[in-house]
């Protein structure tokens, strides 16, 4: 089986189009005992500011349902994939996240649309949207544990190939750069402090804090404090540890 992966890695490294990549995934998907693959960045595909990656061979009716319900950012499989860096079987979902009634409905709907069990490889690259590569079986067909290490590698290398194609299509804008002082203010704003409180903490004037945060919002092109904090977390300018530590 490793020869098969070796060949796949070479092939995706040279893939020149998304169609070619999708074809390679469809072939290796079958070799691993799966029927479906889905490679995606986890954004609502209709709202995303930058063109996102989405390649799949899911049944059309399932895709329509998924888009109509705007499941991109809330899909339980995608949510679980944010909590881990290694592949997981969908049967493990209840142990990874709290499944709400809506989550259970989504999983039921997938089953009704012909999708059985699956395995998802998360793809986290700092500063970029979270993504994943999933492999699924038809309803009633089990996932074979012996193929999971292979699926893990295939998912990771396929995602990188998609990322390379995507970057060629739409060069990523340079990251907004904050000054150290702006960054300090954003960390405290993310921790819920008011401008006045931040001024006291950092020992600078109230007006200076207002200016730092205003300029930081301008650099990210956002108008709200919450969006500023989220944007800075997203691209790694500040980290969850900075914000959450006591």
């Amino acid at each position: 089986m490793f020869d098969r992966i070796d060949a796949f890695v070479r092939d995706v490294g040279g893939a020149a189009s998304e169609d070619e990549l999708a074809g390679l995934l469809e072939e290796i998907c079958a070799d691993m005992g799966f029927d479906y693959f889905a490679l995606t960045h986890h954004v609502d595909i209709r709202q995303a500011p930058q063109p996102a990656i989405r390649l799949h061979n899911y049944p059309q009716q399932w895709v329509e349902y998924f888009d109509e319900q705007k499941l991109g950012p809330t899909d339980p499989v995608h949510r679980a994939s944010h909590l881990t860096s290694v592949g997981f079987a969908w049967s493990n979902l209840p142990h990874m996240i709290h499944l709400t009634p809506r989550d259970r409905m989504v999983l039921d709907q997938a089953g009704c649309n012909g999708i059985g069990d699956g395995f998802t490889v998360p793809a986290h690259v700092p500063g970029e949207s979270n993504g994943s590569c999933s492999f699924a079986t038809r309803s009633g067909r089990p996932v074979l544990a012996e193929h999971l290490p292979t699926a893990q590698l295939v998912g990771a290398f396929a995602f990188e190939a998609a990322r390379r194609l995507w970057r060629m299509r739409a060069p990523v804008l340079a990251l907004a750069q904050l000054t150290d002082r702006q960054r300090d203010c954003v960390v405290w704003a993310a921790r819920g402090k008011s401008d006045w409180e931040i001024a006291q903490i950092l020992g600078i004037s109230h007006e200076t804090v207002i200016q730092h945060l205003k300029q930081a919002r301008e650099r990210y092109g956002v108008t709200k404090r919450t969006m500023l904090a989220v944007s800075a977390l997203f691209d790694g300018t500040i980290s969850f540890v900075d914000v959450l530590k006591r």
Binding site: F2, I5, V125, R183, G236, D242
Partner: protein, 205 residues
């Protein structure tokens, strides 16, 4: 960035090495909970930290350790062939032009942004060091959690075998081929040394 080879007992002679072994303890033992030896309760030093090891260290202007990596010659016992030979589907790659990247360490005394900057300097430094010293292949054992990030550097990277669970961690063996294009591939993914501290220099032990 400084490259050096040394022995643990020469620690005192080289403050930057001492800082590196200390940072390695903080990262690999305290943070990642690896079961590896610790010297004097402060330094993470193992059997491969001998006179054959080469260290690449990223330091700030005041000479403080920010990040580091250890290169082991594959012509001698190293981690992949000694500890995890099962991670390779075939024989682990070996040769005078093949080195193993081990103990890739980003110091914990930095915020997220600074750590990414250090990471970029270290990765681009590895490529430049390889080009300057006739190294054409790097191998390495990586925790799978880091695989996507390692691939996203943009260099030519391939798996050497199927990943395996080792204790609570999933490990995989990788090879990275370095050639004249590597630096451009890395730069296209934002991996460069923006501090322009000049060429990688070698410091004899």
């Amino acid at each position: 960035m400084i490259v050096t080879g040394s022995r643990p007992h020469e620690l005192a002679a080289e403050p930057l090495l001492e800082a590196m072994f200390e940072a390695r303890k903080q990262v690999f033992v305290d943070l990642l909970k690896w079961d590896v030896p610790v010297l004097a309760g402060r330094y993470e030093v193992d059997q491969f930290d001998d006179e054959h090891a080469i260290y690449l260290i990223v330091a700030d202007e005041d000479g403080r350790h920010l990040g580091s990596a250890r290169l082991l010659p594959t012509t001698r016992p190293h981690i992949l062939d000694s500890l995890f030979p099962g991670l390779c589907a075939g024989e682990p790659p070996k040769g005078p032009d093949c080195f193993e990247i081990t103990r890739f360490c980003l110091g914990r005394n930095q915020n997220a942004k600074a750590r990414l900057e250090t990471r970029n300097r270290l990765v681009s430094g590895l490529a430049r060091y390889a080009l300057g010293h006739g190294i054409v292949t790097f191998t390495g054992v990586a925790e799978l959690a880091w695989l996507q990030q390692i691939l996203a550097f943009g260099w030519r990277c391939r798996p050497l075998g199927l990943p395996q669970m080792v204790g609570a961690r999933t490990l995989g063996a990788l090879r990275i081929d370095i050639d004249a294009e590597t630096s451009a591939l890395l730069a296209a993914n934002g991996i460069a040394d923006r501090t322009q501290t000049g060429p990688v220099c070698a410091l004899a032990a």
